[in-house]
Amino acid sequence: MITGFLFRALDRKAILVALALMAIALLVPLSNLYLPASHPLHVPTHILSLSGKYLTYALLALALDLVWGYCGILSLGHGAFFALGGYAMGMYLMRQIGTRGVYGNPVLPDFMVFLNWKELPWYWYGFDQFWFAALMVVAVPGALAFVFGWFAFRSRVSGVYLSIITQALTYALLLAFFRNEMGFGGNNGLTDFKDILGYSVQARETRAALFAATAIALALAFVICSGIVNSRYGKVLVCVRDAESRTRFIGYRVEHIKLFAFVVSAMMAGIAGALYVPQVGIINPGEFAPANSIEVVIWTAVGGRGTLVGPIIGAIAVNGGKSYFTAAFPEFWLFALGALFVATTLFLPKGIVGLVSGGVARLRTGREADRIEETLQPEAGAAE
């Protein structure tokens, strides 16, 4: 069964993308570490960590695409899963600081000493172990998505209602994590990390390794998503998106199908967050801001939803643009982003990938174009 899954997952395109990501995972860090700075192919460290960040965003966008592009669930709260994964990793990194904090307390992180806490809250137990933190990175977002999705899908909350309550979810978490009493560092979040698995997070080698880990994680997630959407389950997933009621009438348990996709997607978002935190060196409640989650949606839309390559391209392109704009014309970034939202929805519903493959398909059989056409049909007639 697993071989079958893999076999279907690795169609030619998927193999290509996965191989390309693996090559990036290998070559970019090597060029950063071993090529002299003067070499034309040398990747400077700041570019390395910047693109590492983009890759975590790409993973997040891929996670969102699985539920939005393939299942029609527009989650405006995926930033919450991302941030929860990030906090789980951040808690591990905080515990690794040990006595090197400002107050030198071997157990309590600095902010707890500052708040006069006497002992570690129970939910911080175990985070000194990497395996436990790694487990929590997927378990916490997964559990939240399961509980939330269980309630939401069972009572058939869908469409914009679902979007709004996912937004409320991340907003509620934003407010909660801002509170000092929550024990997650309040406004300042978790920062000032020293070590990960015994290696300094500041070291060039660690940064390179984190980049490689991110690219590999993205490749794995891509293969898994590819496997999911190419399996029988994936076909049903698309059915749910295009005609939910019909799928239900045929006899599928729509809520279970949605729930599975939602939970898998949340776990992937959690992993993206966990890889993001050591690379940027901070996690704070701002990551829960509803605006962030909506931005993820636009990455996916720009790249092309309903395709697996699209979100990766979209996340990297939009964030590359953001880095450029916020440095060159800080005034205009929001104009550009706003215009991107409007223009993408109006003129580019299939995203960049749709544009490209639409052109290619006109030359070829048109099979691909038809497929994308189908994927973007609105849920017309679904409710009859």
Partner: protein, 539 residues
């Protein structure tokens, strides 16, 4: 509504009562000028007594300044001033009006000398003056001050003014102030028991510590029992007042939510479109108010009190026009794709925010309260701020007008028809695209006038709208679409629930709790409290 009229009438009365009573200013000035000749303490005392004889509370600032050593004489012409600041040159203030009256070098000024006995005399005269002031509001205030700082030495003075007092309200206040002083004194037990009874009748939060203190310090069982009983009875009534206050705060928050959400409810109800730029329409309204006020400040300062009345129609037009452009330019191409509409309107909201930030700057802009909206008053133990009260009234009016538009006009009829069954309405000859466009403009325009109201209680910044957008969604989701009453009930429920939870859980936890409750609620009733029924729902 009747209550509101009653309350505003009450407000007017209180305002009238606090109008300053014009005193015989020339006479006062003549006496104050004598301080310049008072070289000896005895002479200073004589002048103070003369001021006391005039019995005018306007002399109080002068006396207080004298006590503080700030009353000084300009050597060159013998004029008397209150000084401000120190150093080489000091600012001079008029001793009566405390208005700036130029500056003078420190060397040219001579202090009117005082000693401790004179300070005591001044304190007595000041309290005597205020307790016997012609203006009953000043007397009442003096009584309140004495109540909060009870001094057994004042009992005799209070006895005197209680005997003279004619105003029943002020008399009660004096009695209460006396009671507070009695409890601090070493008068016999019977007096103290009377005092506790008085305190109990007065009630209120500030009585509790006094009673607690007397109960803890006294030797007498009777006093202890009486004070315990009084505390219990006061706390009981306090709970009642607290609940009332919470409801009041809740209604106030609820009407803010109602204003912000009602336009959203209309557009969502009619078009099934989530307008993420709704908050920015509110912001546009607030900035329109700002622009109107700026214009008035520079060219017609006398019209400032009318600024809101001018801003209201303008804000409606500005936001409504923005909404109309948005609908015609973007949204109409996205019908049937609600999720894409959501994204496109979010893009518009980012553009609007940045546009306002570019034009007006990222910081908060100052929007003033017209005089008729500032201040506050108390009813029993309830503290009511005037601007909040006006917003409650205002949102009620907006709600009523909207209800009329929906139920009594042709446009409202068409709008309701489209909400309930779009294809059927279209077949009956209703131009649904134009109903959509004008509905969107109407919803946005209402957001604009909500912005005028919110500019009075919130910071006017480019992020103003974002603070309300999620709450507004919650109201709409909770209340259900296609029914304005649902929005009203939703807004009030959320507002009141929020304010009732706040004392127990704190503002942030209360908000989280409400959000979680709504998420759970939507499981039970995915279409809100007042959901439309029938086959149109699924369309």
């Amino acid at each position: 509504m009747r209550l509101i009229i009653l309350l505003s009438g009450l407000l007017a009365l209180i305002l009238a009562a606090t109008m300053p009573v014009s005193a015989d200013e020339a006479e006062l000035r003549a006496v104050i000028a004598k301080f310049s000749e008072a070289k000896k303490f005895s002479q200073t005392e004589a002048v103070i007594e003369e001021l006391q004889a005039l019995g005018d509370t306007d002399a109080v600032p002068t006396l207080n300044a004298l006590s503080d050593g700030l009353l000084q004489v300009r050597e060159s012409d013998g004029a008397v001033f209150i000084i401000k600041g120190d150093g080489e040159t000091v600012d001079l203030l008029d001793p009566l009006t405390r208005e700036a009256a130029g500056t003078a070098p420190g060397a040219d000024l001579r202090k009117v000398k005082v000693k401790n006995s004179i300070r005591r005399l001044i304190a007595d005269v000041v309290s005597g003056l205020t307790l016997r002031a012609r203006n009953s509001a000043v007397r009442l205030e003096a009584a309140e001050t004495m109540f909060s700082r009870p001094d057994p030495a004042m009992i005799a003075t209070l006895d005197g003014v209680i005997a003279e007092e004619t105003d029943a309200g002020v008399k009660t206040a004096f009695m209460q102030a006396r009671a507070a002083a009695v409890l601090q004194s070493d008068l016999p037990e019977a007096d103290k028991l009377d005092a506790i009874a008085l305190m109990r009748d007065r009630g209120g939060r500030d009585v509790l510590p006094i009673l607690t203190a007397i109960g803890a310090s006294t030797q007498s069982d009777a006093i202890r029992a009486a004070s315990r009983e009084a505390i219990a009875s006061i706390e009981e009534s306090m709970m009642f007042w607290d609940a009332g206050q919470n409801i009041l705060y809740g209604v106030s928050l609820g009407s803010v939510l109602l204003l912000a959400a009602i336009g959203l409810a209309i557009t969502f109800g009619v078009m099934g479109v989530i307008n993420m730029a709704h908050g920015e329409m509110v912001m546009l309204g607030a900035y329109t108010t700002f622009v109107v006020q700026e214009f008035i400040r520079t060219s017609a300062p006398w019209a400032f009190d009318y600024s809101l009345a001018i801003a209201l129609p303008l804000a409606f037009c500005v936001s409504g026009a923005a909404g109309l452009v948005m609908e015609r330019g973007i949204i109409r191409f996205l019908y049937g794709r609600p999720l894409e509409t959501l994204l496109a309107t979010w893009g518009v909201s980012l553009i609007l925010q940045q546009a306002v930030r570019t034009i007006f700057g990222p910081t908060n802009r100052e929007v003033g309260n017209p005089s008729w909206m500032s201040g506050s008053f108390e009813v029993g133990e309830l503290l009511i701020t005037t601007n909040r009260l006006w917003i409650v009234v205002f949102s009620g009016v907006v709600f009523a007008i909207l209800l009329l538009v929906l139920k009594r006009t042709r446009f409202g009829l068409q709008m309701r028809a489209v909400t309930q069954n779009r294809p059927m309405a279209s077949s009956m000859g209703i131009a649904t695209p134009w109903v959509d466009a004008f509905t969107f403009a109407l919803g946005s325009g209402i957001a604009g006038i909500a912005g005028v109201a919110l500019s009075q209680i919130d910071n006017v910044s480019p992020n103003l709208g974002q603070g309300y957008i999620i709450d507004s969604f919650m109201v709409v989701v909770f209340g259900g679409v296609g029914n304005l009453w649902g929005t009203l009930v939703g807004a009030m429920t959320l507002g009141i629930a929020n304010k009732f939870l706040e004392p127990y859980a704190g503002a942030v936890l209360a908000k989280i709790f409400i959000l979680v409750l709504i998420i759970l609620f939507i499981q039970k009733r995915p279409r809100g409290l007042f959901a439309l029924k029938g086959r149109s729902v699924e369309a």
